[in-house]
Symmetry: C2
Subunit: 314 residues, 2 copies
């Protein structure tokens, strides 16, 4: 094409990414794709991750300390596991510019607010966030610009969050392809316990059971995984550190949902044992309708072959 996109002011001049895993690297590529920001600095605790980031051009500048990355930044995005949020917040606090915004991408919000909030200096905005997007991969090489396309990002403003600062952060997430909603921390943590945390624990458990069963070999489990188990293994391949921290920090809601899950599971097991086919049929018919809702909401594809093109089938 001969024309160039109209010039517009970037949403943020300087953005600092603290932690350079799947979410941060995807955010970087997505911000660059849409030309949303000025410069992006990055920091990761591990030297190896920083070296990789430099090698693949992840961030305009990779810094050797979180403090250096944050200096002069208009937006600081904490992309570390939840258990590391507090120490990072403490470390960067003295270097935050007045008027800057600190956000995060953690999967639990109450715990992050409690851990990070007290360290945020006067005059700095704190707007927790959570992009509902991910894959089972992790690390600086796992990111891709399309990760957030048509996915939700939940913003969880705290008391006194500045409306203009929220609007600016919303513009960034929308710019990388997300749909944005606001929610309070407690409701967020319950909704995520249902849609993400409990399903992850269940998938981890099922994969563990399969692996543990002596009469069915590992190679059989792997060979015959396409029968349903495969989706569980994908979920159960997610980053162990991140997920350990999620469960430890969203304890009550996760345990509540798991309690309800066990109750329902026992009722279905009982129906199997007693041969109550009507109970099973009704239950399965009902759950099918929920799937239809997800397709209609555009959160998954209805393609009969799962979009499984020839190139994907190795």
């Amino acid at each position: 094409m001969s024309g160039s996109a109209p010039q517009r002011a970037p949403v943020y001049g300087k953005v600092a990414l603290i932690g350079l895993g799947l979410i941060a690297s995807s955010l970087f590529w997505a911000m660059k794709r849409a030309n949303l920001v000025g410069t992006v600095t990055g920091y990761a605790r591990s030297q190896e991750t920083r070296d990789t980031a430099r090698e693949i051009g992840l961030c305009d500048e990779v810094c050797d300390s979180a403090a250096a990355a944050c200096e002069g930044a208009d937006l600081i995005v904490l992309c570390v596991p939840i258990g590391a949020m507090e120490s990072v917040a403490q470390e960067i606090a003295p270097y935050l510019k007045k008027g800057a915004t600190v956000t995060d991408v953690g999967s639990v919000k109450r715990a992050v607010i409690d851990a990070v909030g007290p360290h945020i200096p006067e005059g700095v905005h704190f707007i927790p966030g959570h992009p509902l997007a991910g894959t089972e991969h992790s690390g600086p090489r796992s990111g891709f610009a399309e990760l957030f396309d048509n996915r939700w990002c939940l913003l969880v403003p705290v008391e006194n969050s500045d409306a203009a600062a929220i609007a600016q952060l919303r513009a960034l997430w929308e710019g990388v392809g997300s749909n944005v909603e606001e929610m309070d921390a407690e409701h967020h943590d319950l909704v995520l316990a249902v849609t993400s945390h409990a399903p992850h624990l269940i998938a981890y458990t099922m994969v563990g059971v399969a692996d543990d069963l002596r009469r069915v070999t590992d190679s059989e489990v792997i060979k015959y995984s396409a029968a349903g188990f495969r989706d569980f293994t994908r979920i159960a391949a997610s980053d162990p550190t991140m997920w350990r921290d999620v469960f430890l920090n969203n304890k009550e809601a996760t345990l509540e949902i798991l309690g309800r899950f066990t109750e329902e599971l026992f009722a279905l097991q009982r129906a199997i044992r007693t041969g109550d086919g009507d109970h099973l049929f009704d239950y399965f018919t009902h759950t099918r309708a929920i799937r239809r809702g997800i397709i209609e909401a555009g959160q998954d594809t209805d393609a009969p072959n799962f979009g499984r093109g020839k190139k994907d089938v190795k």
Copy 2:
């Protein structure tokens, strides 16, 4: 290209498909793709399904009775829910040609053998089978020729199954893209309880719980499903009749696996409650390795964006 494929004899002259859902329709298109058989007749109990089949050209001839479809057939494939296998076998038995082979595609094998076996006439081969492939869709329109590509098909020969007849059936499944293995019925039912039946029941349960929770609305569950729950809903959208019959007919193995699952789940819940992060981390690290095995075995794609091309993201 100017040349044509070398002529070769079809694997079977006439094939009858009894039941015209996802598996039968996929098998039809896959057999035609590879030019594996002569003519294919089909029968479905519902008039609507037969009308649809005629409309879309599914089968060379759609018959109005199972008996008519089977007449003169060299291979009869029973593609009905497990609970319907016995009555279908009884119905077609008088019309089976000497030397013909009867097979099936049911997800449970011991129950099918017990239900169908006694009705197979002298001189007719009975070789139960199970292609490990499927989607959450059902019905005559849901089939596609690629369904079996690089998926496993398990053959479960019964006592006195004829070696030549087994080889012929194997050639058909290989011809539609499958890898074929033989297995005995009891082991099959246990392996499938682990890789398919228990995961399906668990997914059904989790989706039911989500839908049942008053404080999280259905629309929230649907909107935020991308966070992990989505894969569960796909599994839990599978055909209710088929799955009711699977659970009722693979009771012991499924209940055994679910018992182990609950045990493990309780141990992980306890780790969450007591804050035992090491236990969680170790468990999650271990399950991640299993996923790697599946990728290496070519049973799923490792593409960082799940092969989620722009066309799939609506």
